[in-house]
Amino acid sequence: MMKNTKQSLRKIVFYIFLAIVCGMIVFPFYWMVATSLTKGSMYSYPPSIFPIDISIQSYISVFLERPMLRWIINTSIVSAVVIPATILIALPAAYSLSRFKYRGKGLVSQLILVTQMIPATLIIIPVFLIFSKLQLTNTLYSLMILDTAFAVPISIWISKGFFDTIPFIIEEAAFIDGCNHFGVLFRIDLPLILPGLVTVILLTFLTVWHEFVFAITLVQSEELRVVSIGLRYFKTQYFVPWNQLMAAAAIITIPIVIIFLGLEKMFVRGLTAGAVIE
């Protein structure tokens, strides 16, 4: 009897803690969606915790009154270049670090590590000066180049961890059949490191979709803005259209959440496999 009450007490305490932690994490997101779905909620005070008058009016007006579609297209264009470019640069590099011994290899690995220590906010100053000279500022190219440069190091880490798990014997057969290293890498190894590849693609996509410093510094004209900086231009000095802002925020968040949830298991496995072997 004593033990039973003690156990159920423990259970209650456990669920209270769990509810607090989960609530804290989910509430901002919930509040964003709730506001975006409530008709005219920005004028209402006190705020209603549950949307009463549900409408998708804010979502429609974001697309009609703001260049939301343009922002999404721009971000997609940048991703469509950055993802393949990252794979083409990072996978051979990871293969090289995983499969061969050569002088300077240790130095290269360390360099790749060191890049993670340098904040983008510092890199942007010299890069801005060069890009102004090359007239690359205010183009999407500038974002493609920089996003790739920032996605490559972490992608190398992750994929190297996966290459390390492939036994040499599998590759040897392919070499005997006359395959070269590039062929082995993309035809034999790639299917074997699929979770790693998915992780790399997802992380690179997140890099582009979340990237802020470069976009806000290098892109000035309205038709070149990407989703991450578009939100900044909703506010005016006198008025903040919270409904529209929350709808726009939901539009750029929800697709990622869906992709993320769908691939969550693979993603987490991909990250931890790389980390353990590192």
Partner: protein, 298 residues
């Protein structure tokens, strides 16, 4: 490994060709900028004229380091970093301990806790700004309802609370990585230890104190280092919510560097702050590594 085409030891070009694009990229976008930044901080470079740039030695450093502003920026950065890293660590630990149990709805809870990962920092900034809003914000509403405050607080407009206001969303954003790493640490503690403790009649608190905490120590050291480095360079949320204001109350080092360069176009001062920022994080990492890591952990 054996490479069939090169039976004798010759230089094998394949790995070198494979790694070359990466090296070029790191050189152009990481090494060159750092060197260039260091150089600019030693000159009187003027962005608008860009001629007659002269070497001025440590002049810019002396100018920056002797201002009171530097001291305040350093202090703010330390507070922000400790607040964010500390908060993210504690909540991550709590979340990991909770998720490590078997219970109904564990998968959903796990997804919830990893959730902020998918949310763009910009969106985090916007949503929290809305919750903090003076007039329509839900935080003021709740606090008033609970009679904790009489008048609404201007969370992002009052210099005395603005730093705390930007720390909270920064913690929120770091919870997933912190939880995931700690969960990995908990998984690495062997189940037998708990079984043995249970046989010896240890209670939950004793188990936690004598098995869980020592077992988590190695991973904790690494996680704290990472969290500190990330918070130290955190930019998006602060820029989105306050842009360093009000009255510089949320101006950390990276904010300072950015605003000095792109708001005031003072590139020498900005690069000087930039080099100092890099040096601080470098020195901190090395000292931390040397002091806290035992030989086999390095």
């Amino acid at each position: 490994m054996k490479i069939p085409r090169n039976p004798k030891r010759k230089i094998n070009w394949v790995p070198i060709i494979f790694i070359t694009p990466t090296i070029i990229m790191i050189g152009l976008f990481f090494l060159y900028p750092v060197v260039n930044m260091f150089w600019l901080s030693l000159t009187n470079f003027d962005f608008l004229e860009q001629i007659n740039t002269q070497f001025v030695g440590l002049h810019n450093y002396i100018k920056v380091l002797t201002t009171a502003d530097f001291k305040y920026t350093l202090w703010r950065t330390i507070l922000y970093t400790i607040g964010t890293a500390g908060g993210a660590f504690l909540i991550g630990l709590l979340a990991a301990l909770l998720l490590n149990n078997k219970f109904k709805g564990r998968l959903i809870a796990r997804i919830f806790i990893l959730f902020p990962w998918a949310v763009p920092p910009v969106v985090t900034g916007i949503v929290w700004s809305y919750m903090y809003d003076y007039q329509f914000g839900i935080i003021n509403y709740f606090l008033e309802k609970l009679h904790l405050i009489i008048e609404p607080i201007s969370w992002l407009g009052d210099p005395s609370v603005a730093l705390i206001s930007v720390i909270l969303p920064s913690i929120w954003l770091s919870i997933p990585i912190s939880t995931l790493v700690m969960l990995g640490g908990l998984h690495s503690i062997r189940e037998e230890l708990y079984d043995a403790a249970a046989v010896d009649g240890a209670n939950v608190i004793q188990e936690f104190w004598h098995i869980t905490i020592p077992g988590l120590r190695p991973i904790t050291k690494i996680l704290i280092l990472l969290l500190v480095i990330w918070s130290f360079r955190s930019f998006d949320i602060i820029y989105m919510m306050t842009t360093g204001g009000p009255a510089g109350a949320t101006e950390t080092f990276v904010m300072k560097v950015y605003l000095t360069a792109f708001k005031y176009y003072d590139f020498t001062r900005a690069t000087t702050y930039g080099v100092i920022t890099l040096l601080i994080s470098l020195v901190f990492s090395i000292v931390y590594w040397k002091m806290l890591m035992t030989k086999d952990e390095r």
